[in-house]
C-alpha cells in the first residue's frame, strides 16, 4: 500500500506518522504543501501540528494550499484520507468534513491519554478492530468539536461518528469529555466514509515499550476492506 503524508509549514507530527506507516508496511512518500499533484497513493494523511502557526483559524491557511486541490480530488474519487489533529482541523476547513473545532472548553492545552469508544466499525478504516474501547493520546488546544443540529443529526443518523471520548469501561459521559466536544465526538467520517478526521494520535501508540499498542491496531486495519 502506498501512502502520502503532506507536510505544511508548522506540521510537527509528519515524521511520527511516516514512521508508523512504514512500520506497518506502507510505502510512504512525504509531499510538500506547495506541490500541485499528489503521488499515486492509496492513503493520504494530513498530519498533526500547527500549520502556519494556527494563523487566522487552525487549519485555515493550510486548507488553501496548493496540494489541497489534489487531496480534495483524491478524496472525491473515493481515496482514503486521514486527518489527525491539525489534519482534522484542515479537513474541516476544506469543507470535506462538517462542523468546526473550537477552543477546548476549559481553555487548557490538553496533552494526555484518553479512552475512546469506536462507534462505527463498518468502514475501511476500522472494520477489523477487535476492540471496542481503545486508548490513544491527545495533544491539542482546539479540539472541541461543534456542529449545528442539522449536521449532527446527519452524523448520528448515518452513523458517521468514528470515536467518542469515554472512560475505561466505555461509558460516554460529560466527565469523560476532555475538551467539551458535542456528544463526546473525537472523530468523524464523511458521508462515503473514505475520509476520517480525528483528534487523537494513533501514531503515538505503536510500541508497547513506549506507550501502548492501540495505534498498531489502527494502522494494521486500514484497508482491511469492509465487506
Amino acid at each position: 500500500m502506498r501512502s502520502s503524508v503532506v507536510i505544511f509549514p508548522g506540521s510537527n507530527c509528519d515524521k511520527d506518522i511516516a514512521v508508523a506507516l512504514e512500520k506497518f508496511n506502507f510505502k510512504n512518500l512525504m509531499v510538500w504543501h506547495n506541490e500541485t499533484t499528489l503521488p499515486k497513493s492509496d492513503l493520504v494523511v494530513l498530519p498533526g501540528g500547527f500549520s502556519y502557526g494556527d494563523y487566522l483559524r487552525t487549519g485555515c491557511i493550510a486548507a488553501k494550499s496548493n496540494i489541497i486541490n489534489g487531496v480534495i480530488e483524491f478524496a472525491k474519487k473515493g481515496g482514503l484520507v486521514l486527518g489527525i489533529c491539525n489534519g482534522f482541523q484542515i479537513l474541516i476547513e476544506t469543507g470535506l468534513l462538517p462542523g468546526v473545532l473550537i477552543r477546548n472548553k476549559n481553555l487548557n492545552f490538553l496533552c494526555k491519554n484518553v479512552y475512546l469508544k469506536i462507534t462505527n466499525n463498518k468502514n475501511n478504516f476500522l472494520s477489523k478492530f477487535n476492540k471496542e474501547i481503545i486508548k490513544l493520546h491527545i495533544a491539542h488546544n482546539e479540539g472541541n468539536y461543534y456542529v449545528d443540529e442539522r449536521n449532527l443529526k446527519t452524523l448520528e443518523d448515518d452513523n458517521l461518528i468514528a470515536f467518542k471520548y469515554c472512560d475505561k469501561k466505555g461509558n460516554i459521559a460529560e466527565e469523560n469529555n476532555p475538551n467539551g466536544s458535542i456528544k463526546n465526538i473525537a472523530g468523524i467520517f464523511n458521508k462515503k466514509q473514505n475520509i476520517l478526521g480525528m483528534m487523537p494520535h494513533p501514531e503515538r501508540m505503536i510500541d508497547k515499550y513506549l506507550s501502548g499498542e492501540d495505534g498498531k491496531l489502527f494502522f494494521n486495519n486500514i484497508f482491511s476492506k469492509h465487506a
Binding site: 502556519y52 494563523y55 487566522l56 491557511i61 488553501k64 496548493n66
Partner: protein, 79 residues
Amino acid sequence: MKLSVIVTLKKEVLDPQGKVIQQTIGNMGIKNVSNIRQGKYFELEINEKNYEMAKSKAEDICKRLLANLVIEDFKIINN
C-alpha cells in the same frame, strides 16, 4: 451601554498573520488586495448611562488590558 473596541497592530509593526492571509488570498486567485492587517474585536457592556463615562472606562480597560500600547493601537466605537 454597549461599546466595541478594535485593537490593531501599529502601522510600523510587522504583522506576519496579516501577511500570510494576504498571500493566501493571492493564491486563491483574488487580485488587487493589499495591506491586510489582522486585529482583535471586543464588545463591552458597560453599566454607565453617560457615554463619556463609559468611554473613559473602556479607554482605561484598553490601556491596561486589551491593548499593548508598545505595538498596538485601539479604537473605541459607540454602538
